[in-house]
């Protein structure tokens, strides 16, 4: 006889809690006997949808994005009561915050930090989006370049900050800038790659990470990786940071090869970047996925995929033939077609479950190149935007790192819980034939993403049998904290087909449905 489950919802008005705290509290609640599910979210529309999809009944709930919703589902009222009390107790006094070792003091304020390290020239900002803009302005006013890791910063604020930075000769890298590499030192999400003669300008991101690791796999190191934030190259912002970063790297004698990577910019911004690069006669690759520029203009090469950008960039850095690098990639693609037949052609839709925005975008374009139209919450064609990101249709590629999923929640590169839950949901759909994933490694990322995905895939396979082929790529290197080789093996042992790059994984997904 089944147990009837009950739920309890509680709203804490006008209270902000960081996403790490909320994730950890939920984990603690889930350990309690009799608790089936718990979820702590700020009351944004996206979080409403996430809780609804998690089985919570939110009818009658009145929470704003400034309010915290605590939701628990369990076996009886007593269990729920106890869980809510526990949640309050943990939030009021999080044990992980008290665990900071005594005698390990570092400044907590910007001014305190500058008192200790007065020669600092860059600040990394990772606070809730609504506070991030003003804090970034304070940093600029103190003469600091800014890496704005936070997302949910308004476009108006971004424009204002970048204007201010430009006047001061500073850079605002971001918002939503996950990765920056300065003199080989990683800030944010980044991989343990060698230092070398390449400079990268990217939205930053997984686009930057993918190119960084692909260069490393080809034996080429990176000196600087400057993130701009995804909106920087759009018309509204005008590529302020991208242009400043490109110029700085072109003028830097340590940089022998420049790579510019990202989703397609506004036409006029792309033209300005190309024009600027051409002035310096430095070997460069313009790797805008789906960008307008098509023809190589040596020493400037035009690429449309991330691995291709890295392959061409590596060839330039090593003084090797660019055509050979490209033909090697084409040979790999041909080999994937053969592999697909060996693996077995599937029927049904492709569902991409991504944590990286640029990787998600690239997957859509690779599939499009193979004649597959996709839906997405972050589509390259506006008309293919999903109405509800939690209800994918036909071929759909979802970016779980989009703002809608990260308001008051941890980024899926750190917390894979929701993506793994969605993997199970997709696997239950009898019309799905291929599930495509990215597995991003490096500093700041989850310590064992492959382990979590492998567990989810094992559960999913129990439901779907052999109907679904799981295809992934690992964006990482062996030197990463998670160990790239080890992560790859964990995935393979779970029956996941692991490709050498995101583009290859997307190609294989296309081939697996007979394209």
């Amino acid at each position: 006889m089944g147990v009837t489950l009950v739920q309890r919802l509680e709203i804490i008005k006008s209270s902000y809690y960081d996403s790490v705290t909320l994730m950890l509290v939920a984990k603690e609640l889930n350990k309690l006997d009799g608790i089936i599910s718990s979820s702590l979210n700020m009351g944004t529309e996206a979080n409403y949808n996430i809780m609804l999809s998690g089985g919570f009944d939110l009818s009658g709930i009145d929470a704003t994005p400034n309010d915290l919703i605590i939701g628990v589902i369990g076996e009886d009222e007593g269990v729920l009561e106890s869980a809510i009390k526990t949640a309050h107790a943990i939030i009021a006094n999080p044990p992980w915050k008290k665990a900071a070792p005594a005698g390990d003091y570092f400044p907590k304020s910007l001014d305190g930090a500058l008192a200790i390290q007065k020669d600092s020239n860059i600040a990394v900002i990772s606070v809730a989006g609504r506070y991030a803009g003003d804090l970034a302005q304070s940093c600029l006013d103190k003469g600091l370049n800014v890496m704005l890791f936070s997302d949910n910063v308004t476009l108006e604020k971004e424009i204002e900050l970048k204007k201010s930075a430009s006047e001061k000769g500073l850079l605002v890298m971001g918002p939503d800038c996950g990765t920056v590499i300065i003199r080989g030192v990683a800030l944010g999400f980044a991989n343990a790659c060698p230092v070398g003669p390449v400079g990268i300008v990217a939205a930053a991101g997984t686009g930057l990470q993918e190119v960084h690791i692909q260069l490393a796999r080809r034996g080429v190191g990176t000196m600087h990786g400057i993130g701009t934030g995804g909106r920087d190259v759009k018309s509204e912002v005008g590529g302020v940071t991208a242009l400043a970063a490109v110029k700085a790297l072109l003028e830097d004698d340590d940089i022998k090869t420049l790579l510019v990577v990202g989703k397609p910019p506004a036409r006029e911004v792309e033209d300005k970047i190309l024009e600027l690069i051409k002035k310096f006669h430095k070997p460069a690759v313009l790797g805008f996925i789906g960008g307008q520029s098509k023809e190589d203009q040596p020493p400037v090469y035009i690429c449309s995929e991330l691995e291709e950008t890295a392959a061409v960039g590596a060839a330039l850095a090593k003084g090797e033939d660019v055509d050979t690098a490209r033909s090697d990639l084409r040979a790999k693609e041909a080999a994937l077609k053969v592999s697909a037949k060996k693996i077995g052609i599937r029927k049904g839709w492709i569902r991409g479950l991504y944590s990286g925005g640029t990787l998600c975008y690239e997957a859509q374009l690779v599939l499009a190149k193979n004649g597959i139209e996709t839906w997405s919450n972050a589509p390259f064609a506006k008309e293919k935007k999903l109405k509800n990101s939690l209800e994918p249709t036909e071929h759909s590629i979802i970016d779980y790192g989009e703002d809608e999923f990260t308001q008051g929640r941890l980024h899926p590169m750190m917390d894979l819980t929701f993506r793994c839950d969605r993997l199970l949901v997709e696997a239950k759909d009898p019309e799905v034939g291929v599930i495509l994933l990215d597995v991003v490694l490096g500093y700041g990322c989850n310590p064992d993403p492959a382990g979590l995905i492998a567990d989810a895939v094992k559960k999913a396979s129990a439901v779907s049998g052999k109907r679904i082929a799981f295809v992934a790529s690992v964006c990482g290197v062996d030197g990463d904290p998670q160990d790239g080789a080890k992560q790859k093996k964990i995935l393979e042992d779970a029956g996941i087909i692991v490709c050498d790059s995101n583009a290859q994984a997307a190609n294989l997904a296309a081939f697996l449905i007979g394209r």
């Binding site: 907590k108 001014d111 200790i116």
Partner: protein, 247 residues
């Protein structure tokens, strides 16, 4: 680590104000690293096994002796070098550190110390004497830090110190804290605090962080409370807001 019963304790080194003539002391309390004593005049002395704990009337020993409360022990320091001068000279903080010092007030947000912030805001400051848990109550630690900032700046006592002494009632806190206050008014301070003050006059961030860390390690929350108090005092002094401050 403790050692067996001894007739005479011979310290390795002493503070500059330690009484050199061998004499008997009564054991008041025994801790892992310290033994608190009183002499025949009721004046406190301390045996320490870690030189970080030097203060007024302290003697460094190899290890804590096996003694009990109320034991009478003899300490002979005639050959021990005076290695720590507890006297607090007049000095000025390097302005560079003020933004850092200000953030120490936030240590009062620590759950164990929130009551201090509330009392402090309510201006019922003297009620912090003896308030809170610990072998030195946290309220005393806070006030000690606060008063240190004031005492250190002036050769003559300022209003804050005068007011405090006027309102302070003997016996309203534990003996150890009372001694701290008395020593402070004699311009004597323990090593961790003195080292911090010296580093704050300088320009070396590593030394400042080391000194802060050393203080934070003092007691359960004593160091945090002291730093918060010191920050409150320093901020007040910088604002030259002394006249409006009272107990």
């Amino acid at each position: 680590m403790t050692q067996g019963p001894v007739d005479v304790i011979r310290p390795i080194s002493v503070s500059a104000d330690w009484e050199r003539i061998p004499q008997d002391y009564r054991v008041m309390s025994v801790y892992r690293r310290t033994v608190n004593l009183v002499d025949k005049n009721g004046l406190s002395h301390t045996l320490i096994s870690d030189d970080e704990d030097f203060s007024a009337r302290t003697a460094l020993i190899k290890c804590v002796p096996k003694v009990n409360i109320e034991d009478i022990i003899n300490v002979s320091s005639d050959t021990a070098a005076a290695v720590y001068d507890p006297f607090l000279p007049v000095g000025q903080i390097n302005d560079r550190w003020m933004p850092l010092i200000r953030e120490w007030k936030d240590f009062l947000q620590d759950c164990d110390l929130k009551f201090i912030a509330e009392k402090w805001k309510s201006c019922d400051r003297i009620s912090l004497v003896g308030l809170g848990p610990g072998s030195t109550p946290a309220g005393d630690d806070f006030l000690h830090g606060y008063l240190t900032a004031h005492v250190r700046c002036f050769l003559e006592e300022d209003n804050v110190v005068i007011n405090f002494r006027k309102h302070y009632k003997a016996g309203s806190t534990v003996k150890l804290s009372e001694n701290f206050y008395q020593d402070l008014f004699a311009r004597k301070i323990w090593r961790r605090g003195k080292v911090l003050l010296e580093t704050l006059e300088g320009d070396d961030p590593v030394k400042v962080l080391d000194a802060v860390n050393s203080l934070i390690l003092w007691g359960h929350s004593s160091g945090l409370a002291w730093l918060a108090g010191f920050a409150s005092g320093e901020e007040e002094i910088k604002a030259m807001d002394l006249d409006r401050t009272s107990f």
